[in-house]
Symmetry: C2
Subunit: 429 residues, 2 copies
Amino acid sequence: MGEGRKPEPEATEMVEKSFEVVEGGILAAEGFVTAALAAGIKPEGLDMLLLHSQAPAAAAATLTINQMRAAPTYVTEQHVADGSARTVIVSSGNANAATGEQGMAAAVRMAELAAQATGVEVTEALVCSTGRIGVQLPMDRIEAAIPKLAQKLSRESADEAARAIMTTDTVPKQVAVRFRVGETPVSIGAICKGAGMICPNMATMLCFIATDLAIEPALLRSTLQGAVARSFNCISVDGDMSTNDTVIVLANGAAGNDTISAETDAGYEAFSEALDFVTVELAKKIAADGEGASKFVEVRVTGAASYEDAHRVARSITNYNLVKTWIYGGAAAPLPGATASPGGEFNWGRAAAAIGAAGVPLEPTSVEIRIGGIAAFVRGEPAEYDEAAAVAVMSAEEIAIEVDLGAGDERATAWTCDLTPEYVRLNAT
Amino acid sequence: MGEGRKPEPEATEMVEKSFEVVEGGILAAEGFVTAALAAGIKPEGLDMLLLHSQAPAAAAATLTINQMRAAPTYVTEQHVADGSARTVIVSSGNANAATGEQGMAAAVRMAELAAQATGVEVTEALVCSTGRIGVQLPMDRIEAAIPKLAQKLSRESADEAARAIMTTDTVPKQVAVRFRVGETPVSIGAICKGAGMICPNMATMLCFIATDLAIEPALLRSTLQGAVARSFNCISVDGDMSTNDTVIVLANGAAGNDTISAETDAGYEAFSEALDFVTVELAKKIAADGEGASKFVEVRVTGAASYEDAHRVARSITNYNLVKTWIYGGAAAPLPGATASPGGEFNWGRAAAAIGAAGVPLEPTSVEIRIGGIAAFVRGEPAEYDEAAAVAVMSAEEIAIEVDLGAGDERATAWTCDLTPEYVRLNAT
């Protein structure tokens, strides 16, 4: 498989789902407008985004727990605390992280300008940046750009919005769904960017979710936290936690449903399912489009004593460099410069080592490992397998690693990509 | 810097040390013999080692905490539990891990054959294997080889011993020192192998230490544990904990010193210092010879509230792929295929992100980061630096990353190497 060629993960099966996938990206939701432009932060291409709700909106955000987190995450945290926001200003190409007082002033200034340009209170404006760490933002360009962005706000710019937040992403990432609250159709549209420094709590990622649902802010926040735990916190590109990760959801009620204020309210379950779908789809797109990735890997851990155990084992596998290089090398044809290895490319033992390295107590004699459906290790014993089938599995663009710990009924899924020479080259700067 | 070219770390400064570095490798210690041969486990080259003490010896071992650890680690754990051992049998090229009951029987059989061949009780024989996971050992070859190894035992085979345990190592790793207990000269000789799957608790590493010191087993064990915590548990090549990591020390008393039985005994401090030196030197050699490595990195964290905090921050940096790819790319000349990055190669912000990702509470405004002596981030603010000096630092084969957390007086040091396309190629199997 050529370097740089990216796998495209299959959409999650949608059997008996209470929502449908629709077109429209982040502007599938009513009452939102966006604008994007090239402000000159990146050497070329779109690098600023303005997202605005035409009506007051409930808002929630989840943020990186990196102790050196970027200035804009502090501004966003503060302004979203009251559960409401209408405007999000995003810059790409510079993270505004490790930038000290000047960086903090820049993040505050971005919020002020975005609020002013969209006619809202400053505390209604949230700020995100992504890109290089430790370099001051070119504020002259950003100050000039924000009023222009406000003038360009429209319902026609969803694709541009998805492209404006990309850094080393090779494809824009967006998804939208529609579901019903009673008879009222409600939409969720979302965009995200990922690529490198991806190991959530959170990924190096930004995600913006717009919905025309009417919902109480506290419930919106807890629903977002649950969805992020099951999606963005289950992916890894390189195991590196970032300084800027942010997921923001705005819910402006433009759909006109009766406001949802409790998990038992009509329509809440449909919303939660739809939000889970949106965030998992975007998380999988990030993993598949990891820097330099040529393969997409889904790790499914079952039989765990607890969800935490299952999650830790899944994450240990998705973060294990030697699993990820094996997946990279697992093409049918030998790679240039690859070291010959007895037994060929079906090096499932790396997964066994990663399972054992998770820090989860386990009995090897209870463990089963399947690679692409092929039993490799069964209750403590290596299994016989068909060489041709193994080559076929390892040649595919998508590979499933299934682990049954044999210790309980809990399960977790995580997603990653392979580790390639291209990843190293992209980041050798 | 060309791929495959390896840095050679400078030996630790030896100001006012109570020992001297000597020749002789693992056989610098009296009363030990070794033999190595090519049994055909690897496609070519030496792949078995027998180490034997001519007299009864105190023994201690530290083992991987990987929950899928290899069969030989169970045999070694059991046989060293009484604090005595005389014979160590090692095979290279196959880890005998994830090999089930057949693998366990093979490890037990290796101990039996080695004990028989060297005329000791089976519980005096320890077993180690390293190499591919999930494949059964070729026991016919091993059974044939062990008696031959016993016949070859000699005092002339130290270099062969160091080479016999190599897998993807590019250079043999050995060190020996001499110190005094009262008037009595005492020697320590040691060999190790590393290369990949290196992230201790423990590294994917084997280390064998032979000393002619007379010491009580319990004190030998606690001293080894301390030395391993300060050395092998402070290195990372790829962050991947292995299934087979083992450090073994045998102390046979051939030097004739009064047996050391307490930390307050004469000579204990000299022994502890010498053992620290030996294990740190070998750990640094492993980091410098990491798979595909072209650079050696020392991370020194100071100003921490606790040793644990310092160690976690140091380890977060040594495990952060984006720090390691930056170090790789930090040559003066642009790399083929490298993406241009504004600001050049002095991408210290990656280190800031890694510090923040350690899970250690910290105040960014108290933190300082120096790269090769150049202040990059000072008490929360990015610093001005000289571009030419930065290029010079990033072009060197050895790079020091210094972090002052500004939170206390504790410190820790860790070592790693860069992450290169060659690492991926070596492991794409």
